[in-house]
């Protein structure tokens, strides 16, 4: 028979050995995993401006098209910039900002909150890409919006989600839903109106897109996400327009 003492020591040693192995694996594989996450983020930004990419060429395409990256605060001031791969202002990298964390700071009225904005030059056309993040029905939803030079008209979007219902809420990640956003506008006579995702939307209305049928809560989540996140950038957009 095994004594209690033996059982305790056995369990302790087993758990410590397992933990040590997992720690080693986690530390050793971290650089590869981080790279995958970074490449995925780049692919999502590229897809918002309509550039197809593969995990292999994403980094190269990103460097080529996204010529400027800025971090802006809620007063519209630039706190950090990387232009053509060189840090020109501040010390943080806008790309590495955690959107979720920064939005939480913004909600708590913390003045240090800053979010990234990416400037893409493609075929001589400038577009501004901003990340957005919010909540769907089952978990987080997020995406990127690309605006044309007038900082009003949407030229492309991409959305993704953690676990919305397939066939219903998950449709927001499909081109049919996302293409509706092209040409929509977020300002009406210089007042911020955002874009609403509603049922039976008027296609001619520049501030409405059709909701996903059966995915009402996810659709409302997209509406809220756009409103809450774009709000942050309005001072910056206004400062650029002057």
């Amino acid at each position: 028979m095994f004594s209690n003492r033996y059982i305790f020591i056995y369990a302790t040693v087993l758990v410590i050995v397992s933990a040590a192995i997992l720690t080693l694996a986690s530390v050793g594989l971290k650089p590869y995993q981080d790279k995958n996450i970074r490449v995925e983020k780049m692919q999502q930004l590229l897809s918002a401006v309509g550039i197809e990419s593969t995990p292999k060429d994403a980094e190269e395409l990103f460097q080529k098209y996204f010529v400027e990256q800025h971090a802006v605060n809620d007063k519209g001031e630039i706190v950090a910039s990387i232009v053509n791969g060189k840090q020109t202002t501040g010390s943080i990298s806008p790309f590495s900002l955690d959107t979720k964390k920064q939005l939480a700071l913004y909600k708590a009225n913390d003045a240090s909150a800053s979010l990234p904005i990416y400037i893409c030059m493609k075929d001589g056309k400038k577009s501004y890409v901003v990340p957005v993040m919010g909540n769907g029905l089952w978990g987080p939803i997020w995406g990127n919006l690309a605006f044309s030079e007038d900082l009003n008209t949407i030229v492309g979007v991409n959305f993704d989600h953690k676990g919305e219902t397939p066939g219903l809420g998950a449709e927001i990640a499909l081109p049919d839903f996302q293409n509706q956003f092209k040409g929509k506008q977020i300002f009406e006579n210089n007042n911020f109106t955002s874009v609403m995702v509603i049922k039976r939307a008027d296609k001619a209305n520049p501030h409405q897109v059709d909701a996903v049928s059966g995915g009402t809560i996810t659709s409302n989540g997209v509406t809220d996400m756009l409103k809450n996140c774009l709000q942050f950038y309005i001072p910056y957009f206004n400062s650029l327009k002057k």
Binding site: F2, Y10, L14, A25, V39
Partner: protein, 206 residues
């Protein structure tokens, strides 16, 4: 008797198949087989986990206190599953995203715990290893069959490459979207079990 006992590999492929005969591991078989690639990676992951956990538990079998044996098995299985998950995240990121929670759920896959309790706790490491490989392959055969059928008829492709030519679609052929839904996987598993039992009368319950 020393050496390889090939029966340990051969039996789980047909007569003792974990999915079609023992009806274990159905959940993941339905969830990850809409495409061939995730089905293959899942099958490989399960095979690795069953084989290695069988070997580790078999090596430890005489030192494991019976009162905490299930906990010890779980720790070993979790360790291996987390390692597999980390490796997938590092090297095949898209596949790991498609498999999502199902890699983590290998821990609760009845095949793994079942083999540890039924075989590894009372057999030598080499036999346990073969038993693990055999059961992993038995699981893999069914997953890959499902993956091939479902991807071919549901998406017209295999491993992401288009197989059914465009000219078929122009003539009015359509992908069967029921194929990519989980219920169709259950129906297919049912058909496989039916065919399997029809050919092996000794498997039928009296």
């Amino acid at each position: 008797m020393a050496g390889f006992n090939f029966k340990l590999i051969k039996n789980p492929l047909s007569k003792e198949n974990p999915i079609t005969v023992q009806v274990l591991g159905i959940c993941s078989a339905l969830a990850v087989t809409a495409k061939l690639q995730p089905a293959f990676v899942m099958a490989l992951s399960v095979t690795v986990v069953v084989a290695l956990s069988n070997v580790i538990i078999s090596l430890l079998r005489n030192t494991i206190p019976p009162r905490i044996r299930i906990i010890v098995q779980l720790v070993v299985v979790s360790l291996l599953v987390i390692l597999v998950d980390q490796v997938l995240k590092a090297f095949v990121y898209d596949v790991s995203k498609q498999l999502s929670v199902f890699v983590g759920l290998i821990i609760t896959n009845c095949i793994v715990m079942g083999r540890l309790e039924a075989f590894a706790m009372s057999n030598k490491p080499l036999d346990s290893f073969l038993d693990g490989i055999g059961n992993g392959l038995g699981y893999a055969i069914i997953l890959i069959t499902l993956g091939v059928v479902r991807e071919l008829f549901g998406s017209g492709s295999l491993w992401g490459y288009q197989i059914i030519p465009d000219s078929f679609y122009e003539m009015g052929y359509q992908n069967n979207s029921l194929m990519i839904m989980p219920p169709m996987a259950l129906i297919l598993v049912g058909i496989i079990i039916w065919v399997h039992r029809a050919r092996n009368k000794d498997l039928c319950e009296k």
